[in-house]
Subunit: 248 residues, 2 copies
DNA sequence: CGCCCCCTTGATGAGATTCAACTCCAGTGG
DNA sequence: CCACTGGAGTTGAATCTCATCAAGGGGGCG
C-alpha cells in the first residue's frame, strides 16, 4: 500500500488515490453529480472558495489570467482527481471544463468538519496536498530549466503514465486539451508546440493521428528526451558543494 | 486579523504568521536551538522526512539538483518561516544555509500528534500549506510568462514587501543570497541577473550599494515593471471566453 | 597586501517568439 | 450532397531575447 513512498516515484503522479484510495472518495459518494459542458467555468479565480470537488468524468484546465491577457495553465484534472483543497478563503485560479465534465461538490464547511472528525482522513488530505505541492515543484523545474523538446516530452510522458495507470494497454495518449492549452501549460507558444510535435513525429518517437491522439513509439527515447531520466534516481545524491550535514 | 483574506493580497506572502501567529510558533518554543554555519545542509533531497523546522534566524535556500548538475532553487526561507510541512515520507528538496542559521527541530511524529490533538492548530497548518501552494503557483506564473526584467522586479518587490512587513522603515532590501542563487531561483543566468540589475539601476528604479544591499527608489515603477501590477486587482475578473458559470 | 571568488561587462550565437500564410477538419446550412 | 465558414493546427521567415563564451573589475578575508 505504501509502494508510492519510495524515494521519488509518487511525486509526479497527480492522482490522489495512491494511498487510501477510498476514504476521500467516500466523502463524495452520496452527493449528487453535477454536469458541465465543455468550456464552462466551474469556479473563477477570486471567488470565495466555498466548495471542494471530485471529478467523476471529463477533463478540466486550471489557470490564471494575467493583466495583459496572458493565460497560465497550472494544471489539468481528470476523473478521480480532487479539486479545491489548497485554498484559503478564495480560489487562486479558475477551473474550466475542457470536455463535458461531471463533478461532485462538497461544501468546504462540511469537508472541514469531516476532516476534523476523522483521524483517518487527515493523513489522506495531507498526502493529497503534499502531492499537489510536489507536482508544482516539478513544474517549476520544468519551466526553469527545460527547453521546448524536453518540456513536451515530459508532458507526453506524464500523460502516458497516466493513461497506463488508468488501465490503457497500448501506449496511446488521448490529449483532451488543445495545442494552445499545452502551450500555456508548458510556457511555450502554440507554434513551438506544433513544431516540436512534428519533430518528434519525424524522429519516430511518436505518431499522431488526428488532433488529439498520440501513439508513443519509443518510450525509452521519449523519457531520455524528457531530460530528467537519471535525475536523482536510485540513490543518486547531489554532490555537496561546500557543506557538511548538520550533526543532530 | 483576517485582512490577508481579501481577494488576492496575501498570496505571495510566505510568512506563515498572517493568521494565528503564535500557535505554530508555540509548538517549537521549548525546543533547543540548533545552529548551522553558512553553506551547511539542513537536509538533503531524498532523505527520510523526519523533522519539521522553524527558522529562528538567518536565511536558507531550498533547491533540487538535476541529473546534469543544474540547480533549481524553489524558494528562500527566513526567520519565522516553517520548513518541512509539505512532504510525504521523504524530503523532495535540499535545504541549505545561506547565512549562519538558527533553527528549532520538531520530530515529525510529535508534530503530527500535536496537530491531531489540537483543533486550533489544524487550520494554521492548513493555511501554511495553502500559502506554500500559492507561492508555488506564483512562481510558475513568473517562470512561464515573465521576461528577465519582470522576473527580477517581481523578486525585488517581494523582498521589499518582506522587509517592510518585518519592520523596515526605509525601502532597503538586504539580499542575503548571491547573484547565482537569484539566477537559479528566477530561471535565468547570473549574467542576465547582473545585466538586469545594472539596467534597473541606470533607470533609477533601484540603487545598489555593495553586493547585498538594494535601495528601491521608485516602488511604483518597480511594481509596474514586475508585470502583474494590475493582475486581477480590486475586483477585476478575466473575461469569460466561451463559458458561463455553472448553475448550482 | 594579495588572492580568490563574486560580480560585471562585452561579443556572439542558439532557440523561441512573432508575424504571416496556408492547410485541415468539423459543423452548418443551402 | 457539397460548398461555405471558422476554429485549430501546421509551416515558413524574420526578429529578439537570453544563454554562452570570454575577459576584466572589485570586495572581503586570510
Amino acid at each position: 500500500m505504501f509502494v508510492e513512498s519510495a524515494i521519488n516515484p509518487g511525486r509526479a503522479v497527480p492522482s490522489p488515490f495512491a494511498v487510501q484510495p477510498d476514504s476521500l472518495h467516500a466523502l463524495f459518494s452520496k452527493l449528487p453529480a453535477e454536469n458541465l459542458s465543455a468550456g464552462k467555468i466551474l469556479f473563477l479565480e477570486g471567488d470565495a472558495a466555498t466548495s471542494v470537488f471530485e471529478v467523476l468524468e471529463g477533463s478540466l484546465r486550471i489557470f490564471r489570467i494575467l493583466g495583459d491577457g496572458r493565460r497560465v495553465i497550472t494544471g489539468f484534472l481528470n476523473a478521480g482527481d480532487i479539486l479545491g483543497l489548497s485554498f484559503r478563503s478564495h480560489y487562486i485560479y479558475t477551473a474550466e471544463a475542457i470536455t463535458p465534465v461531471t463533478v461532485r461538490r462538497l461544501s468546504r464547511k462540511v469537508f472541514e468538519a469531516e476532516v476534523a472528525n476523522s483521524a483517518e482522513l487527515r493523513p489522506v488530505v495531507f498526502n493529497q496536498m503534499s502531492d499537489e505541492m510536489a507536482a508544482a515543484q516539478d513544474q517549476m523545474v520544468l519551466l526553469s530549466t527545460k527547453n521546448a523538446e524536453e518540456r513536451l516530452c515530459s508532458f507526453l510522458l506524464k500523460e502516458l503514465q497516466r493513461a497506463l495507470k488508468a488501465g490503457a494497454v497500448q501506449p496511446l495518449v488521448h490529449l483532451a486539451m488543445t495545442r494552445l492549452d499545452i502551450a500555456d501549460y508548458l510556457g511555450l507558444t502554440i507554434e513551438t508546440v506544433s513544431r516540436t510535435m512534428t519533430k518528434l513525429s519525424s524522429k519516430g518517437v511518436i505518431s499522431t493521428s488526428g488532433r488529439h491522439s498520440v501513439k508513443v513509439l519509443k518510450r525509452g527515447l521519449l523519457a531520455q528526451l524528457a531530460g530528467d531520466g537519471d535525475e536523482c534516481e536510485d540513490g543518486w545524491r547531489p554532490a555537496v558543494a561546500h557543506g557538511e550535514r548538520l550533526r543532530h
